[in-house]
């Protein structure tokens, strides 16, 4: 069997592979250098590539992504870290108004090949300002590619694609997955953007999941397997490009769809997926489309409270049972 590595270590591995391949790739962010990042996802990079290619910044989120953008427009491929995805709000102008629009509004004169990496999601008791799942914010902006891996090999393979594409990418690393282990990525591993994975094949119901909701969906599917139900779990991997072909193909087989997302229900990415299926897949459906998503509340601190708010395996199991009984 292949070596196991953590999702956390896969991040540094994935970045290092690209930095070795292409001298134009550089990293910047708060405490990413000697400290190796607050989540230890950049350990070893400064030692290997030096302080000019792996650079600590002041606490200036706008400067971080703004400087990355200016560098990307002029021949560099920056990988900028925004420590917690909640802080994307501090530089949202760059993600919403500058980076994604530059190419289009100049009539294609300029490209902006950069990656903004950020630690996303809850479940760790970090409270309302350090726990949000905000992949839906990025989805809402035309011109951003949106990636959110669920396992270490995908981290490496999707980072490779994200860094190599000439389009701007927001790369969501899930805090709840950092400690999880999986197979290491083979040399040269590249996962194309926009290809969902079938994380578990099945015939009876489709579960669409992303990042940390993939293991949740798998656990729920396992639980149902005991009662003879085979759920198919689709790991979207990316929100943009969005692999709706994979979702629709699965629903064609199962006729039932459950979407599991950590962002809040209202405005969540599942609404986009559901609405496409309710349009293009209307005739495939034998049951309502259901979404298990976060409640419309800020993330509370205490575990017992946070569990009430974000998706959990029991909630997924209950929703599956409901839909199967329809």
């Amino acid at each position: 069997m292949a070596d196991l590595i953590t999702y956390r270590d896969a991040v540094a591995d994935g970045i290092a592979r690209e930095m070795r391949r292409d001298p134009a790739v550089v990293c910047l962010g708060e405490d990413i250098g000697a400290a190796g990042g607050v989540f230890k996802t950049t350990v070893g990079l400064q030692a290997e590539f030096g302080p000019h290619r792996v650079r600590d910044t002041p606490i200036s989120e706008q400067a971080i992504v703004g400087i990355a953008m200016g560098a990307a427009m002029t021949g560099i491929r920056p990988v900028a870290e925004i420590m917690f995805s909640d802080f994307l709000a501090c530089c949202w102008d760059y993600l919403a108004n500058e980076i994604p629009k530059m190419r289009y509004m100049t009539g294609g004169q300029v490209t902006v090949p950069l990656v903004i990496r950020t630690a996303n999601g809850g479940g760790l008791g970090f409270g309302a300002q350090h726990s949000q799942s905000v992949e839906n914010w990025a989805l809402a902006v035309p011109g951003l590619k949106v990636v959110a891996p669920s396992n270490p090999a995908d981290v490496v393979g999707l980072l490779a694609s994200a860094i190599r594409t000439d389009d701007p990418v927001v790369f969501f690393e899930h805090k709840g997955l950092f400690a999880s282990r999986g197979e290491a990525a083979p040399d040269g591993h590249v996962v194309p953007l926009g290809e969902a994975a079938v994380a578990r094949p099945g015939t009876d119901i489709t579960i669409v999941a992303l990042a940390a909701t993939v293991p949740l969906a798998l656990a729920a599917a396992d639980e149902l397997a005991g009662s003879g139900v085979q759920a198919e779990v689709i790991d979207l991997r990316c929100l943009v490009p969005l692999d709706m072909a994979a979702v629709l193909a699965s629903v064609r087989k199962t006729s039932r769809l459950l979407i599991v997302e950590e962002n809040p229900y209202q405005g969540g990415w599942g609404g986009t997926v559901a609405s496409i299926v309710a349009d293009e897949g209307f005739e495939l459906l034998d049951a309502p489309i259901r979404r298990v998503a976060a409640a419309c509340v800020p993330l509370p601190f205490a575990d017992a409270l946070e569990d009430e708010v974000i998706p959990t395996t029991p909630k997924v199991v209950a929703a599956l049972r409901d839909l199967l009984a329809y």
């Binding site: 000697a34 709000a89 300002q129 509370p300 017992a304």
Partner: protein, 329 residues
């Protein structure tokens, strides 16, 4: 400088600082024992800033703090027990365990929150100061923030607007030399990241000893007086040092041993107790204050530990002013 704090008052402040120190140590122990989820940013070493400032402020003034804000919550009147309970996810937490360590808030004591996005609360303090002007009171508002916060946009916008509107707001930087693990000097070109920026807004500034509670009380008192009299904002940069690492279990190995020693030798508790001795307060009174503080902390730990856990039903309350969280019919 003439201390405006007399001996009996200083003994009170010493005791309060001791309570805070003890509570921070208890929080650290609780974290190591697995009783605290998420993260904590302990303020041990920073006590004189919070206690000195609070001593110079009025109960109806407003205070805004950062994720490293336990000391400000307690200095303004939050009980150690309700703070520890918050950290331990208990129903008796000062925010019902919905906020956690980074968001301690005691609104009834004018402690209007701890904010975990660096720099975000500086405009809020300006807003509370504007509110005081609009309502015709002479309250002042204070924002406490770290050295690292001086490089974020909100700092600039808050200082400029506060200066132009001559708001009764104090910007107090707790310069502890480091952001998380990176020295502020490596990312700032001026020596005093807060005070050296004040001139850009035509604001008065002072660099002060943040480990001397009397110095802090005096400086804050002067700045608050000026603000109440319509003289506008002041920037204070209090030099201090954190005794623990940045957060959680950070051993802070990035700090030179010599530097740590130098600062530990200037422990704000020691500075205050030396002052007490100089003022003629007998040793046993100082020891007695410390003992009382230890008792308060021990009781607080016991109370927090024995309290009920947070009520899951609370997860869906208080999004809206009507108490609920409904967003649709």
């Amino acid at each position: 400088m003439t201390a405006t704090v007399d001996a009996p008052r200083l003994l009170e402040l010493y005791e309060l600082m001791s309570v805070i120190r003890g509570t921070e140590k208890a929080a650290h122990d609780a974290f190591l024992a697995g009783l605290v989820k998420g993260t904590t940013h302990l303020a041990a070493g920073h006590e004189a800033v919070a206690v000195g400032a609070s001593a110079a402020l009025r109960p109806d003034d407003y205070v805004f703090a950062t994720y490293r804000g336990h000391h400000h919550a307690m200095a303004r009147g939050a009980a150690p027990a309700e703070c520890l309970a918050e950290l331990m996810s208990k129903a008796t937490g000062v925010c019902q365990a919905k906020g956690g360590s980074m968001h301690l808030t005691k609104a009834s004591a004018g402690m209007l929150g701890s904010y975990a996005i660096v720099g975000a609360h500086l405009p809020l303090a300006a807003g509370a100061a504007w509110s005081a002007l609009l309502r015709g009171t002479d309250q002042v508002a204070v924002a406490f923030f770290g050295d690292g916060a001086t490089n974020i946009g909100a700092f600039h916008e808050a200082l400029n607007l506060s200066a132009v509107w001559a708001l009764p707001v104090l910007f107090i930087c707790e310069n502890n030399l480091y952001m998380e693990y990176t020295p502020i000097s490596s990312v700032t070109a001026v020596e005093h990241p807060a005070a050296d920026r004040a001139a850009a807004y035509r604001l008065p500034a002072e660099v002060i000893d943040g480990n001397d509670v009397v110095v802090v009380a005096d400086a804050v008192g002067r700045a608050a007086d000026r603000a109440r009299a319509g003289g506008g904002p002041t920037v204070l940069e209090a030099q201090t040092y954190r005794h623990f690492g940045h957060s959680r279990t950070d051993p802070a190995t990035y700090r030179p041993a010599e530097e740590v020693q130098r600062w530990l030798a200037r422990d704000p508790l020691d500075v205050a107790s030396r002052r007490l001795s100089e003022l003629g307060v007998p040793d046993q009174e100082i020891t007695a204050a410390a003992a009382r503080a230890a008792g308060v902390v021990a009781d607080a730990v016991a109370a927090a530990k024995s309290a009920d856990g947070a009520d899951p039903a609370q997860a869906l309350t208080d999004v809206w002013a009507d108490g609920g969280h409904q967003w649709r019919t």
